[in-house]
Amino acid sequence: MGALASKHLLAIEDLDATEIGTILDIATSFKEVNERTIKKLPTLRGRTIINLFLEPSTRTRTSFELAAKRLSADAINMSGSASATVKGESLVDTAKTLDAMDADLVIIRHAMAGAPQILARCMRASIINGGDGKHQHPTQALLDLYTIRDYFGSFEGLKVGIVGDIAHSRVAGSLLPALSMLGVETVAIAPPTLLPACPEVLGTRVSSSLDDELSSLDVVYMLRVQQERLERSPFPSLREYAGLFGLSVSRLQSMKKNAIIMHPGPINRGVELSSDAADAANNLLLYQVNAGVAVRMALMYVLLGGESDGAVA
């Protein structure tokens, strides 16, 4: 058996705190591999991994593809425009078709919540949720946890604030429950129109004042703000949003001395992050991207049956 109780990673709740620790530990050894000149291991040679990306994505798909290739798996990309779904095929039929091709692992990115669960029901492969609608994005949470743990050494005593569109964010949908599972104090900071109906479900407290919270945070996690919509925008203007919830130059000054900035990318310069904040030395945005490949390698490794020791031969 593998190192995990679950065959899939459909939502962050499929893992417990110990399993999260195991994945992060394995990721550490893969991260070292990624720093070598020859960034390749034979670990998943002969295994077939399909990146089923039915919603536009560049960074996540690239990260998964690199992770699969660095483990020597045969990685195939199927994107929304190339897949059968635009021809009117149902997701169930797409899944059955891929199943008939004996895929070992499928990563799915989809605009609708619950799509990974549909795949898990009708395929033999392990399924990784690469982001489903407004629900979850568990591998983003794992790479964020990796980044936090690596920087601070442990999760103990930390306080994490997530700022932005919590209500519609799959990143927050996975990260908040994950931090709660690990005993980390969190606060979701946003105007009430961007807060979820029942934040307690996500294990978090809410606040609508960044200025009240900022100076007590160890991690300031900024979410990408949706570009302005003309109708029914949940805030009056990007200008006002940036004024109330953006990480401005002056707010950078009121952060704790050792605090870090994180962001799932892509960033909107001048909206949630001022250029100073985007380029600040304590902004770990690119470190997150770097860790993402190693964390996804670790996850693929454990889901496809690897033990927690001996990952790196």
Binding site: L10, V92, M112, A113, Q117, I118, K134, H135, A197, C198
Partner: protein
């Protein structure tokens, strides 16, 4: 033609009846009910151990005919009604095309004559094409047999149009059936706004988006004098609005579905069961409790199934893409028997009121009763029959039941419509 149903417990509160008796039927009508009721010659059926009720009516069903016969048609829908213990149903107008003129009403009524023994009444559209913009030809539809008007499936968004429609409808003395949904508040909502929408990352359909139109419709009933019947009420606050309206004597009635009575949002989990995707959505546990209480009290007048058949391939989609609705004709009576009558929450007398008398009274139809002179529409149940929902398949063409796999006790075994059996010993005829 003569028929004697023997040794039944016969219950009908409208004639103060609850006794072990026989029912004698001749030429489609009940000729006598009593321990000594007899016929000279004809068919006799011993139904010992069973209970006879006035024929039940479901005033909210989608039979999909014309236009979506792959989901249901008048025959399969009529058979599903019989299997579930109903003699009579009211078909909603959101077919394809929408029932919005007299010829379309008579088309359905005429087809139903040959398609099924079940009595099928027709509700016509309130606004043309259910678009909520201009009045449908209510007079023409009324003259051709429509018994109510509704845009069911959509709420009328424009209060001015609804006021106009209710003013106009009043002349026919039939009710407006109202689907209460403020689209500007619901948006793309697919589940109750709250714990489950947060947990599953789905857009929320807030209770207030139903309660606000309920309050508006009550105000318009008062203004226009037109009777309004609130469909598939699903929240405790909505019930309180109706309660207050009734206390003031306004012409307001309402119905509740079995799924809103007996299921709450917590049934939805990360399996994203599309069989539990309803409109309005499953609400909270507290709402289900308030709905049950209101049904017992009579603030909720009747149970209606909102039978909404959908093909398997339509429901086997991503939750947000799958259509709303569950089938209900074949399970509604059993659910009320199992969950409310059996535990003693609802008497048979009240069950009959809520599932036989109230729907006909709301729609102004001829009442049925277990008494000499009444039309012989009779539902006969076995209160002890145990069955597993869905195990033996469906009469409906569709299998999208929210209750599939549930074990229930109590079920219709025989149904008579105008003295003819549409269901006999559990077999649809």
């Amino acid at each position: 033609m003569a028929l004697l149903l023997e040794n039944l417990r016969c219950i009908d509160p409208s004639v103060d009846l609850d006794m072990l008796a026989n029912i004698a039927i001749k030429d489609g009508k009940i000729v006598s009910v009593g321990p000594d009721a007899a016929i000279e010659k004809g068919e006799r059926r011993d139904l010992s151990g069973k209970i006879a009720l006035p024929g039940l009516m479901d005033m909210h069903v989608h039979l999909r005919d014309p236009g979506q016969e792959y989901k249901e048609d008048l025959t399969s829908g009529g058979n599903a009604a019989a299997r579930g213990g109903f003699t009579t149903v009211l078909a909603m107008p959101n077919t394809s095309p929408v029932i919005s003129d007299g010829s379309q009403v008579s088309y359905v009524i005429n087809r139903a004559q040959n398609a099924t023994k079940t009595r099928i009444y027709v509700a016509g559209a309130l606004t043309r094409g259910l678009k909520g913009q201009s009045l449908a030809e209510m007079g023409d539809m009324y003259q051709n047999g429509a018994v109510a008007f509704t845009d069911d499936g959509r709420g009328v968004q424009d209060s001015g149009i609804l006021r106009l429609a209710m003013d106009y409808c009043r002349q026919f003395n039939v009710p407006v059936l109202s689907h209460c949904q403020d689209e500007s508040l619901v948006g793309k909502g697919v589940v109750n706004e709250g714990v489950v929408s947060t947990r599953l990352g789905l857009a929320g359909w807030p209770a207030v988006a139903e309660e606000l139109p309920i309050a508006r419709d009550i105000a318009l009933a008062e203004l226009t004098g037109c009777a309004v019947h609130i469909q598939h009420i699903s929240t405790a606050k909505g019930v309180n609005l109706v309660r207050a309206a009734k206390e003031r004597g306004l012409p307001v009635t309402c119905e509740v579905t079995p799924h809103h009575l007996f299921l709450d949002e917590n049934s939805l989990d990360t399996n994203y069961q599309t069989s539990l995707k309803m409109n309005p959505p499953l609400r909270t546990k507290a709402d289900t409790e308030a709905l049950q209480t209101a049904l017992i009290e009579g603030v909720i007048d009747c149970v209606a199934s909102d039978h909404a058949p959908h093909a398997a391939h339509e429901k086997e989609l991503e939750f947000e893409l799958a259509p709303f609705g569950t089938t209900g004709l074949e399970t509604a009576l059993s659910l009320v028997l199992d969950r409310m009558v059996r535990p003693g929450l609802l008497s048979y007398q009240l069950l009959i009121s809520r599932m036989a008398h109230a729907p006909r009274s709301i729609l102004g139809l001829e009442p049925v009763s277990l008494a000499a002179g009444s039309i012989a529409d009779i539902t006969i149940i076995d209160p002890n029959e145990l069955w597993m929902v869905g195990n033996e398949g469906w009469q409906s063409k569709s299998a999208n039941s929210a209750f599939a796999g549930t074990e229930l006790c109590g079920r219709a075994t025989d149904v008579y419509v105008g003295g003819y059996a549409s269901l006999q010993n559990g077999e649809v005829l």
